[in-house]
Subunit: 443 residues, 2 copies
């Protein structure tokens, strides 16, 4: 069988371009309107996409002036989308720094039961002091600490998801015995961050456990992904960078004793699609014109840890910025921004335009054919197992992708024409994990 | 207008009788089958009930042999039910002891947005050492501590729900300003249990905040209910007990400066309904015969803090049981059990039968007319503003209630024949709370 692409729809309120909400077609209240999200989910499913994805952080980003800022909690919102779709995978972001394993493992297992095996978890450690301050902290835990906690969090979650043997429910009405207590495996976990004694209060879910997804690209993040992730989202600007990331992560997965094929790597792409290249570029320009640089400059200054006054819209970034080592927040995002600006010698205004379009992800304007080519080029050249599709304007950009790009990819034999399995893991060509606790059935 | 009853459907897997899952009609896997829950929700909505309710505890109760033990997480499950219904209120239980205010307030606000203003929160402090041990604790926090934390939790949640003025979203596309940062009110809360700095990442929800429900009847629990609860679930065995509770709680609400009418009191009733009284009693007997007393005896011994050997199935409870003061778990439930056993001089076997049927709630077997009479009698005599309907067998018992008892109550003018409002608060005759932060609009 030819190698097949995997496609994920990264949904946002009005689109990934920060000014998309200002277009006449956009509903600025869409973020809290479940009908809007259901519409997008159905479009993605019409395109036979593997999954859809919701980002998240448990904090209100500063400047609600800038763009729509309401964020329905993702496990809850995905449950609503499970009811509006039948096949597509549903990936929610949740933080290991600001949750408890018992509660979160349980919510994902619940979503997996409710959706018939379509749940995925994008595991993040949540950069930023402002989030920490919503959760009893006065300081941001260090990058190292956050990833250590994340590893223990996932270890405990795996034990919780495996705490019922697959055959623990007997349902023996005649004998009056519902379940077999001897087929429970309480974690009895005692570690530096967590103590979790008891079994989950849910039978093992259709997928065994949700698909584990990861999206941090720092040294710690890659180590974590190599150990746990079954799919990886990443922001890569050039083919060479994407190839280097791809080779590195697959190598790390192998070194961690895993089959590198079971870690699917999906760089992001922000496609501006139109019938002609010129129209596609015009759409990008129209959106960029709607950016208000004062908001974006303030955020950029925060990310770079300089004062806004140190940034001049019509000059390049100043010298003397910190090294990635000194950043305790989102390390890889920081490096990506600085590298992009230096490599292309962008002014602050140009940099803001690029980031406003895709927040560091690759932006691409072109015809459906050109977008398909761009995707195939990376896919064929060792840079990607698939893509994270981040339409600049939603829902229109997703419909354009599904109706015009997907058929080309299907025609080239690169993408499915119908769902072949029922679970998210099926879509990604991954098997249901065996329960680590249950003894092998005697022959 | 005549005073109107409020009715809540308390849903469980196969019903409130612990042996209901053993009946031929019951699907023992129903607990994790979202279609089953949607069916029940639609039946409750067909009956024009005010709300439906899910209990919860973040722990696996011992003895999965005894009865179905899977428990989909309630905020997630209710979101699925929101998509399957249009009017009925949706009340989820969640613990203040094992959650963080920012996360939980956000999930309830999300559910309120997604359901169009139908969310309610049953606030519990979660009794039991086994739950504590799933959340990093080696000891159960004391009853007093749990209620102190609960009060601070709700205070912070209210501030989070009010952290956006109702008019904070400007959606001004022309000016490029989405929201007004000056109409945000970050809690900046620093208290003994929580520090929560920032505003919620969601605009204020349709109801302002979810309906606040409470179900603990101890001294601490009543104090808490008087301050915060808009609806109260309670287990009461006799008219006199229910009247005393009703008077006491209304008085406390008044003393706390609230209008007692804004606290709706709903005792539980477990109605076994059949065309004749004899058939209803036969249904109860059939169910009681299916109870396996060894499971129930073990749990009763735990609740009473004695060894199982101290309980003889064919004798009354032993002497020398602890006082409520010494119980750090579910105080009022403990007292209810002991009082019931002593008052009616029940053997352990009889007590187990009574508790197996309704876990301490009033059980009642009769014709639809008799059930309607039982309800009206308490309602007319200062014991209830409505009822928590706990069918022994589900979905059948709920359908029987909706199709045979509700029409009688409607015919007597005691219950609505159609939904008049759109939100859960509308159904309970409560108004949308004003935002405590926002300054009154200048005239
Ligand atoms: C496509 C994509 C989506 C992401 N979504 C989130 C998110 O929803 N929440 C979050 O806190 N971080 C998100 N991140 C950031 C990373 O998960 C990670 O937290 C961040 O890059 C910091 O980790 P690092 O220092 O290892 O790079 C995302 C990254 C990518 C590439
Ligand atoms: C109808 C009803 C439903 C209840 N549901 C829950 C529940 O879902 N979870 C829980 O921990 N306690 C539940 N309780 C128990 C109380 O909320 C409370 O936690 C318990 O009675 C201990 O509090 P107390 O000591 O103040 O009575 C319920 C009680 C009643 C009457």
């Amino acid at each position: 069988m030819t190698r097949r692409l995997h496609l994920n729809a990264f949904l946002m309120e009005n689109g990934h371009h920060e000014a998309s909400w200002r277009l006449p077609e956009s509903d600025p209240h869409a973020g809290t309107d479940v009908a809007h999200w259901k519409r997008m989910a159905r479009i993605a499913e019409r395109g036979k996409l593997d999954s859809l994805f919701l980002a998240d952080s448990p904090v209100l980003w500063g400047d609600i002036g800038r763009r729509p800022s309401g964020a329905l909690e993702p496990t809850v919102l995905l449950t609503a989308l499970a009811g509006a779709t039948d096949h597509i995978g549903l990936i929610a972001t949740a933080s290991t720094t600001y949750n408890e394993p018992y509660n979160l493992a349980r919510r994902f297992a619940s979503l997996d039961h409710i959706s018939g095996g379509r749940a995925g978890w994008n595991i993040v450690t949540t950069a930023g002091l402002d989030a920490a301050q919503n959760f009893n902290r006065t300081h941001l835990p260090s990058h190292r600490d956050r990833y250590d906690r994340a590893a223990e969090f996932v270890d405990v979650s795996l034990r919780l998801w495996d705490s019922w043997a697959d055959d623990a429910v007997l349902a023996d009405k005649a004998a009056g015995v519902w379940g077999d207590d001897d087929r429970l495996y309480p974690p009895a976990h005692i570690g530096p961050h967590f103590r979790v004694a008891g079994a989950l209060n849910l039978p093992r879910s259709p997928q065994g456990h949700p698909l584990l997804v990861q999206a941090g690209s720092s040294e710690n993040g890659r180590g974590f992904a190599a150990r746990y992730a079954e799919a990886v989202f990443t922001a890569q600007q050039t083919l060479a960078d994407a190839q280097a990331f791809y080779v590195d992560l697959k190598r790390r997965a192998g070194a961690a004793g895993r089959d590198p094929d079971t870690v699917k790597i999906l760089p992001g792409i922000v496609p501006a699609i139109a019938a002609t290249e010129r129209e596609a570029l015009a759409l990008e320009e129209e959106l960029d014109r709607l950016i208000k640089p004062e908001y974006a400059k303030r955020q950029l200054a925060e990310q770079l840890r300089v004062s806004p006054d140190a940034l001049d819209l019509d000059r390049e970034l100043p010298d003397g910025l910190p090294d990635e080592d000194e950043i305790e927040g989102a390390k890889s995002r920081y490096t990506l921004i600085v590298t992009l600006a230096r490599r292309e010698r962008l002014t602050v205004r140009q940099l803001i335009g690029r980031l406003g379009g895709g927040r560091g992800h690759r932006t691409f304007a072109g015809t459906p054919e050109q977008v398909a080519d761009a995707i195939q080029h990376w896919f064929d050249n060792g840079a990607a197992d698939g893509f994270n599709i981040m339409p600049p304007v939603l829902p229109r950009g997703l419909a354009d992708f599904v109706d015009h790009v997907v058929p080309i990819l299907q025609h080239r034999g690169l993408f499915r024409t119908g769902y072949e399995g029922t679970t998210l893991r099926d879509h990604y060509g991954l098997t249901r994990p065996a329960n680590r606790n249950a003894a092998p059935v005697p022959a």
